[in-house]
């Protein structure tokens, strides 16, 4: 990515982007002075924040794709994903690593800890990127592009429309924010709902449109004389200088009384756009005068990466450094300004090797999907992405489960509270009731499979090979019985089993579970049997096999996968079932699920409960591991309901 290698880039805009990202670094550093209540820091912060984010939006409008509006939805989503969302996800994951080793400023997130990581992930998913706050701008860009994609098709024909829409969006967005207060962290909400900062995107789209308008008028794209640029820049600067302090107003965010775009607080209704546009103009004029140096252009082209790398400074370095400077070096106006500028430049310089590395190793992951890197040599494909994302979703609740089971959770034990320990698992195996319950579970599931399989196999064979009077009705009736909710059946089953002494015995549960396992097994086995041609039966009989021999020597080996899959289904529904398992074990013979229930007392050892739950999953995992290839061989269900 050398300067000028992309023909459609405007040099002035890349320079402006460099200034914009420098202002972000600068702003995030003086923010620390502001938080420490240094007067110079407060002024510098207000000055910078009054326009620097709007500048980014105007620049984004400058380089916006106008034909985006003609794209099909699929192409737009792919574009958004590969150039914005994927870098965001990747870099957020990268930014989750440093908290493991360094302590930083994370606004109430206890990092590194499971709670901190989970809360942070939730906040990030709902739109507030907590692991790298500066990266919120990437989400805003996605929001802006969503708005752009939706409405620009109606505006593209006339510049007058664009300007009118700019005013309209500003008024509408401002009103929406004041009226509905969509994103206000001070309100009592379980989670925020600021997806892609869509509320901010509505207001800020007006500045995006301004950028598009300026580009259409070739503003600063053609060379402009320094004689015009210098006085214009000076005028714009004074404009900002005289108005930024006045920019107070009806805010959404009641902590800082000035412009903070991230919290949708824009200050004064008229002064905010005035100051912001003046600030943007000032930076753009200065960019027009700046010679196009390679380094500056290169940094300007990598603002997204720099935004993330700024997170390192924002979370770890700036707070400590700012406090140290105030205490030991200087705290008055101009020195603070000079030092902040120096820190900004040093920070940018420190980022450069990382920008270089990311671009060389894996440009696909940082928003350049068409390039290839040294580490990721082939273009990205997303075939594994849906399954991986789904598995991650499945694992999320299981992580705390395993984690809790591996920690001491009871006060006053030998192991201190909250320490890593295997004692929960040791306790399980020391407790004869718990180990007995594992054996009980295995016993009744095995019995259930041993009863269900032969019975279902015979019936399935009958259904698949012959028609007989009432076969359709019989089939439907078995399925109808599967539809009986277990809660319904509990009482009579208990009464019947009490009469014939099946209560408190694994056989009782095994028989009761047949009520819902048998219909499913018949259905699954029938579909497997239907896939085996009947000629095999006939040849076997002609060869002189008896019916029994045919079953044991030919059919059952052929049906191996079918039997394995059916056994897995029986296991799956039976192992975890609790309604029958509970009612049919009054005093003894309790299975795992009921043994866990008895662990809940007024002094519950939650770690022990979780350890037992983890152990209860393991037999099933072994089971699915052995039948996985049979599931993959597939079965088709041919018989209609």
């Amino acid at each position: 990515m050398d300067a000028g290698s992309k023909t459609n880039r405007f040099l002035t805009i890349d320079i402006a982007r460099f200034y914009a990202i420098a202002l972000v670094f600068f702003g995030h550093f003086v923010e620390e002075f502001m938080i420490l209540k240094n007067p110079a820091g407060i002024s510098l912060y207000k000055f910078t924040y009054s326009f620097h984010m709007v500048l980014f939006v105007v620049i984004a409008g400058y380089v916006a794709k106008e034909d985006l509006a003609n794209w099909r939805v699929g192409r737009f989503i792919t574009h958004c994903f590969s150039t914005r969302l994927l870098p965001f996800i990747f870099l957020t994951l990268v930014m989750m690593i440093p908290p493991l080793f360094f302590s930083g400023k994370f606004y109430g997130l206890p990092l590194p800890s499971l709670v901190g990581y989970f809360r942070g992930t939730v906040l990030t998913v709902f739109g507030l990127p907590s692991f790298c706050v500066p990266s919120w701008f990437l989400l805003l860009i996605i929001g802006l592009e969503l708005v752009h994609y939706t409405v620009f098709r109606f505006l593209k024909n006339s510049n007058a429309k664009i300007l009118a829409a700019a005013v309209g969006f500003y008024v509408a967005g401002y009103w929406l924010n004041l009226e509905f207060d969509i994103f206000n962290p001070l309100k009592e909400r379980v989670i925020g709902w600021n997806y892609f900062f869509i509320h901010g995107a509505i207001t800020l789209y007006s500045f995006y449109l301004l950028g598009i308008f300026l580009r259409r008028r070739h503003f600063l794209i053609q060379k402009v004389s320094t004689k015009i640029l210098v006085p214009a820049a000076v005028a714009a600067f004074f404009m900002v200088f005289f108005t930024y302090q006045l920019n107070n107003g009806p805010f959404n965010f009641h902590v800082y009384n000035h412009v903070v775009i991230m919290f949708a607080s824009y200050g004064h209704f008229l002064l905010f756009p005035l100051t912001a546009i003046a600030g943007c103009a000032c930076v753009l004029f200065i960019s027009g005068m700046t010679p196009a140096r390679k380094t500056i252009l290169w940094l300007g082209q990598n603002t997204m990466l720099l935004m993330f790398l700024n997170g390192i400074f924002y979370h770890y370095i700036n707070p400590g450094l700012a406090g140290w400077i105030l205490d030991n070096v200087a705290s008055s106006g101009l020195p603070v300004f000079y030092l902040s500028c120096m820190v900004t430049l040093v920070s940018l310089a420190l980022c450069m090797p990382f920008v270089f590395l990311f671009n060389r190793l894996a440009p696909q992951l940082v928003g350049k999907p068409k390039l290839t890197g040294l580490l990721l040599k082939s273009p990205l494909h997303f075939r594994w992405l849906p399954t991986t994302a789904y598995i991650v979703f499945l694992f999320l609740p299981l992580i705390p489960l395993v984690s809790v089971s591996l920690h001491s959770t009871l006060r006053g034990e030998m192991v201190p509270f909250g320490e890593f320990t295997l004692s929960n698992y040791i306790h399980v195996f020391q407790n004869p009731v718990l180990t007995g319950s594992i054996l009980n579970s295995i016993a009744y599931v095995t019995l259930n499979i041993l009863i269900t399989l032969p019975v279902a196999f015979l019936a399935a064979y009958g259904f698949s090979r012959y028609t007989f009077s009432g076969d359709k009705y019989l089939f439907f009736c078995t399925l109808a019985l599967r539809m009986m909710p277990p809660v319904v059946m509990v009482l009579p089953v208990f009464l019947i089993f009490l009469q014939i002494d099946l209560v408190n015995r694994p056989l009782g549960i095994a028989l009761a579970h047949c009520a819902f396992n048998l219909p499913i097994s018949i259905w699954v086995l029938e579909s497997f049997l239907a896939a085996i041609p009947r000629e095999i039966d006939e040849i076997a009989f002609i060869d002189g096999h008896s019916f029994f021999q045919f079953f044991t020597r030919i059919l059952i080996p052929l049906m191996g996968p079918g039997i394995a899959v059916t056994a897995f289904f029986c296991f799956m529904f039976s192992w975890v079932e609790i309604v029958f398992a509970r009612i049919l074990t009054v005093t003894s013979g309790k299975p795992i699920s009921m043994a866990i229930s008895t662990l809940f007392t007024f002094r519950t050892d939650i770690g022990l409960v979780m350890a037992m739950t983890v152990l209860s999953i393991i037999p099933g995992v072994l089971m699915i591991y052995f039948v996985r290839n049979h599931i993959a061989k597939g079965f088709t269900i041919k018989t209609a309901v």
């Binding site: 399954t387 609740p397 019975v455 015979l458 009077s469 809660v487 059946m489 409960v609 699915i624 309901v641």
Partner: protein, 276 residues
């Protein structure tokens, strides 16, 4: 394959029929019987005729709960079936990753049902803090999400196992014809999965419509009964030993499920007829 007409084949079905008579039909008959009585004790009961049915069907609370359960089943099916199909389409047909997928995806299915809500309680407390239990919308979202977490894998497994039976020749032919990804799905994969999907749809409908233990353990039907479903009402009656009304309720639920399943079947049959 043509089947042989032979009434002696009933013999094959006899063990299954006997077993089902014993564990399912007999209890069902007993429930129907109980539903006409007011039961004070197992040996002392009074015939009350259709009174319980009248009580249950006439109460506003029943219809509210019914609507809630229907909404829950609709939401759950609307998420789980398409999601399950999408995931199944993306599992590779062979290789290590397919094994990893199958084993990992089976995990939620293997957790004892009384622990599902427990696990989610811990997870939600860690991720979202406290306070969601007091509001209806977060509780609904949590229950739906929990069911999606628990049961989507079943849909995935059923779809995946039928997808693996599609011969590669079909895909090759489609590629030669220049069929789009959507065409391949619509004309090759979906017809193959149809029967499995009906099975998944029915299983998921029955189990979500009669969902009991998970929402009960998560928030006990609250806040203010906004997440009380049909089976939870029944469960409460059984716990308080009102066996008469509970039996009437059970019979009503059974018929609701049979009727809705029958409507499913009819709708599918009509659509087939139109397409055929």
């Amino acid at each position: 394959m043509k089947k042989i007409k032979n009434n002696k084949a009933w013999v094959f079905a006899v063990p299954a029929v006997v077993l089902l008579l014993f564990v399912a039909v007999l209890p069902l008959i007993m429930i129907v019987n109980y539903s006409f009585y007011d039961i004070f004790h197992i040996n002392s009961k009074v015939w009350v005729g259709l009174e319980w049915y009248h009580d249950v069907l006439g109460s506003l609370r029943f219809w509210e709960t019914f609507g809630r359960s229907l909404l829950f089943s609709t939401l759950v099916l609307a998420i789980e079936i398409p999601l399950g199909i999408a995931i199944a389409l993306h599992i590779p047909k062979q290789g290590v990753f397919s094994s990893v997928c199958l084993v990992c995806m089976a995990l939620p299915l293997l957790v004892p049902w009384n622990m599902i809500a427990m696990i989610w309680h811990v997870f939600l407390a860690i991720a979202f803090g406290s306070g969601w239990e007091l509001k209806a919308f977060p509780t609904w979202a949590a229950i739906v999400l929990m069911d999606v977490w628990h049961w989507t894998s079943l849909v995935v497994f059923l779809c995946y196992s039928s997808l693996t039976t599609i011969s590669p020749a079909f895909y090759q032919a489609a590629a030669i014809d220049g069929a789009s990804r959507w065409d391949v799905f619509r004309y090759i994969e979906l017809p193959k999965m149809k029967m499995v999907l009906i099975m998944a749809l029915l299983l998921r409908f029955i189990d979500s419509f009669m969902v009991f233990i998970e929402p009960f353990r998560l928030n006990a039907g609250g806040p203010r009964s906004t997440t009380t479903f049909l089976a939870m009402e029944l469960g409460q009656e059984i716990i308080s030993q009102d066996y008469g009304p509970a039996s009437a309720r059970a019979v009503i639920y059974f018929f609701i499920i049979i009727i809705i399943s029958w409507i499913f079947k009819k709708v599918i049959a009509v659509r087939e007829l139109k397409e055929g």
